[in-house]
Symmetry: C2
Subunit: 500 residues, 2 copies
Amino acid sequence: MPAYDDLIRRWKEAAILSSCGSVLGWDERTYMPRNGSAHRAEQMALIAKMCHQMTTDPKVGQLLAQAEKAKPDEMQAANLREIRRSYDRAVKLPSDLVEEIARVTTQAQQVWTDARANSDFAKFRPWLEKIVALKRREAEAVGFKKHPYDALLDEFEPGATTEEIRSLFADLAKDLTPLVAAILSSGKKPNREILHREFPVPSQEFFGRMAADKIGFDFQAGRLDVTTHPFCSGIGPGDCRITTRYNPKHFNESFFGVLHESGHAIYEQNLPAEHFGTPLGTAASLGIHESQSRLWENQVGRSRPFWEHFFPLAANTFPQTLAGVSLDDFMFAINDVQASFIRVEADEATYNLHIILRFEMEQALLTGDLKVADVPAVWNERFGKLFGITPPNDAQGCLQDIHWSFGGLGYFPTYTLGNLYAAQFMEQARKDLSGSQLDADFRAGKFERLKKWLNEKIHHLGQHYRAKVLCERITGKTLSHRPFVEYLKAKFGPLFGIPA
Amino acid sequence: MPAYDDLIRRWKEAAILSSCGSVLGWDERTYMPRNGSAHRAEQMALIAKMCHQMTTDPKVGQLLAQAEKAKPDEMQAANLREIRRSYDRAVKLPSDLVEEIARVTTQAQQVWTDARANSDFAKFRPWLEKIVALKRREAEAVGFKKHPYDALLDEFEPGATTEEIRSLFADLAKDLTPLVAAILSSGKKPNREILHREFPVPSQEFFGRMAADKIGFDFQAGRLDVTTHPFCSGIGPGDCRITTRYNPKHFNESFFGVLHESGHAIYEQNLPAEHFGTPLGTAASLGIHESQSRLWENQVGRSRPFWEHFFPLAANTFPQTLAGVSLDDFMFAINDVQASFIRVEADEATYNLHIILRFEMEQALLTGDLKVADVPAVWNERFGKLFGITPPNDAQGCLQDIHWSFGGLGYFPTYTLGNLYAAQFMEQARKDLSGSQLDADFRAGKFERLKKWLNEKIHHLGQHYRAKVLCERITGKTLSHRPFVEYLKAKFGPLFGIPA
């Protein structure tokens, strides 16, 4: 099957070049000297341009068509399916639109940074207007059946539709809103101060590295470094790097961040190396990726069995800080629920309400039902309805996230999909591996059986199946809000004294 | 002049891509996780292949020919001269030869590492035979007037010839041999133990960074990291990185290494950014590059005025270690001269004898007058004549350097050229800026005037002039061994009590 092989060779070559850009991106956010940024931008732009040329080469289209006709086997068919999706999307976008989006979003990110710092929406507004218009053009160029938002969503969550996510999120909101209300009116509050004592950075680093190592992050095939906005960067086989930032007065920021990024990295580190650069060697979707980070961060990392192992170690690592703190106090503190303005600091119960707000507003922006000028007012009004509090300014409201400034409309829903997938996968893992035995594993600081299950069920498959199908294959069911809601009720019910 | 502009655009683009490889190379030697090496090799090979394609594209040849005919101005002519040299060299090499050299030297470096570790020349011998044969083919493909060695030399030191270097080195050896003999038989020896006491690594790091900063390394446009074999990597405008390794029981290793790499970096950091990616934005030659590292390491960094400023700071930084050590003791210890086996550990007086040995053997290998099988015996015999001692094994003899294993025949002479250029430049700087005032600067920890002189005379010019011409323009004379020999006599005469 020479057309297929030649296609794959070309696709892999573009991926290797793109992975050079990943090293440069990692370096830019960790070690690059300050004055290197202008040259770095030129390097990144050149690599992006060359990768785009390589993957949209008409020869690729010819080979793809030939390969599709040549009776591919199941694995090949999966590769061809996703290469087709990427290729069609890429060639449908006129190059002037691609360049315009790149140019505008590069500048818009700078404007957004300043606008957020000064809580000055008026400054960002014309840029957001441009971006929404450009993304609408993008959606039209890509094409869609029902909703222009589908065309954007598809970039991050292949095959997902606005309609099904809307219905899923509606179900979720219906259960979530009364649960959150019950928690907030329970009158119970943990002693949050525990987590804001002195946590010396070197001890945090030691403790975070130990936990990452124990859950299965491979330090022979990765690194942990410090950055401003933590991320995980999968460079290629044997090299996936995570980052964190340390706040000496807040335990959660680095520790749960490290678990989160480790979850992403464990996925990347266990993709099949032989398929690197092809869909079979690539994560299924952003939603599935996020399920892996949230699973380790929350489902595992905020569970009692996990802390039955780690709390004594934490007490040894931070002896003065945690003197006299009980496991119960600690568990309650790390599982606090409260209405708050900032998405990235939100707890498990309220987090998805932040996403639902953004998901709704993005759709309305795209159809034109919501004008950019009305974003702050609409944000604050809906936020008030969802959380019962109103952002004191736009920096803590509609300006808080970077996503719109880089043109990432359609990205937010994958965060909630990740939470739902994580709960549904974990429910299944507890069936397949016995929940009580998993708890016993965690209590003993052992995570290998769960990791192996995730490797086999998810990581090793790459994009063999789309997210939706993958979920059905693993759990026997389509994705539902129920496992997540059940999980929240089981956890927060006892903590806040809410009757089942 | 559209042909010229298009040519420059293409040449710069290849340089930007190549500079991505520089980031990857730096990362590989500093932070890359162990398991990332196989993927890194693929990334590096792809970038090398693409850069080669871009710079040997027939379109480049056409544009070059057009631009040459179109009355270039002086700056353009300099760019065209060096692009012509690189292009002709690249297109003359058959691609199977290029690939074969890449393949063989990649493996040979691994073999060499093991062979050196076990002092097992027999293991390395077949690889060296292959490499010599390949480099002979390379020399023939490139072409040469008198000596095949010219063709190899030209890659590192554009325009230099074997004949002129041979004559220069012969003059040097004639003066150096009696000087070294007089020093070694002087009966005077410093207390070397001073430098082998406990030098805590964090204090070494602090002290090295302070010195690098004071002499003019710009930490906003560069970094200092730890590696196994220290190097300097110029990535692009605003980004040049140096590395070091710390030996807690030896002061010299890191400190003089940092000065050395800072010298290279100060050159890179002060190349004209607007000419990045063209010859006018590139260092003149390896010899001139080495002159900058040796100038700061030795001419400045081992001088008494330098240490009149730094020794009190060293005494503060290493209070117990240097307690009771006088500046005189310290100066003598860092300027010790002795016959030794290892080139990279050699002092200023004996260093060039190591280079002369290699230079002679490389020429003989290339002509076939020396068989690879005879290398160990010939090395030891000539070494005995030069130094009066015989290497106890090949690891400390002919296997000590990595250069042959990567195919770098023709590279060694640039080290001695660097020493000679450094002395001749410094002699001129002392005339232009007043030597006594420069000494006063150094005593006050000020190096800006010297750095500015180097910026203007050398760094800002890139490859505007070839090394030889540059030297004549700066010093009014062709390169000579005399300033270097005078410098050595002036320094070592008093230390070892040798009459002038």
